[in-house]
């Protein structure tokens, strides 16, 4: 009936010492992964799209398709 006395103090500090570095590294890794797999490709996609974008040509295409109400296709 003589068990060793269990640890009574410093339990939170011990847990934090172990878990906090892991938590911080995992969060930073998650953020970096998101940045380089999602945001950088997205920025590149937008840059490439607008490099070759002729807005007047697109406008005329949309006008001929008949989607605008203020200006009808040139045939009418």
């Amino acid at each position: 009936m003589s068990l060793p006395k269990p640890v009574m103090r410093g339990l939170l500090a011990k847990r934090l010492r172990f878990h906090l570095p892991i938590a911080f590294t995992l969060s930073i890794v998650a953020a970096l992964m998101f940045k380089y797999s999602v945001t950088e490709p997205r920025k590149k996609a937008y840059a490439d799209f607008y490099k070759q974008y002729d807005s007047v040509k697109e406008y005329n295409r949309m006008r001929e398709a008949g989607i605008f109400e203020s200006v009808r296709p040139s045939g009418e």
Binding site: M1, R42, A45, Y46, F49, M62, I67
Partner: protein, 169 residues
């Protein structure tokens, strides 16, 4: 307000004598549910009362022996004293059970039942969908979205090949 003022005038002694005059019927009967109860809880380790309220003669003699030196108690006597004060040990009360299996099973069963009810409702209660769900109408909607260049960079129209008039491979 008036009652408290009247009480302070009459005085506390007069109230108790009036109770005695009524032959003790002024005292309410103590209900069982108003007394402290025993409970086994991890968060509250020390319950309000001991588990065993009426001790048998051996338990009474054990309690007498407890008043002396505890080193004189054997291990079985110590455990017997523990069991007088407490019903379950921490290990017993914290032990897990298999109840979660029934809970999950019941949940899935009722979710399935609800699915059947919803399916029957869709078939026999709801009326027909609007004409805007017809395939021809949907095709016109799709063509209009492509004409408007919906999400041309990464989304909808980006996947359409405008030269060959088909979806990009």
């Amino acid at each position: 307000m008036l009652a408290t003022r009247a009480l302070s005038l009459v005085g506390k002694r007069a109230i108790s004598t009036s109770v005695c005059l009524r032959g003790g019927h002024g005292v309410a009967k103590v209900e069982q549910y108003t007394l402290p109860v025993y409970f086994d809880r991890r968060e509250n380790p020390l319950p309000d009362i001991c588990y065993v309220q009426t001790l048998s003669p051996e338990q009474k003699s054990l309690k007498e022996k407890e008043k002396g030196s505890w080193a004189a108690l054997s291990n079985e006597e110590k455990i017997a004293l523990y069991r007088i004060s407490f019903k379950q040990s921490f290990a017993e009360m914290n032990k897990g059970s298999s109840e979660w299996k029934s809970v999950i099973g019941g949940m899935l069963f009722f979710i399935g039942l609800t699915g059947l009810v919803v399916f029957w409702q869709r078939k026999y209660v709801y009326g027909p969908v609007p004409h805007t769900f017809d395939p021809e109408y949907k095709a016109k909607e799709l063509q209009r979205m492509l004409d408007m260049r919906i999400n041309p960079v990464e989304g909808f129209s980006a996947n359409w090949d405008y030269e060959n008039k088909q979806w990009k491979k």
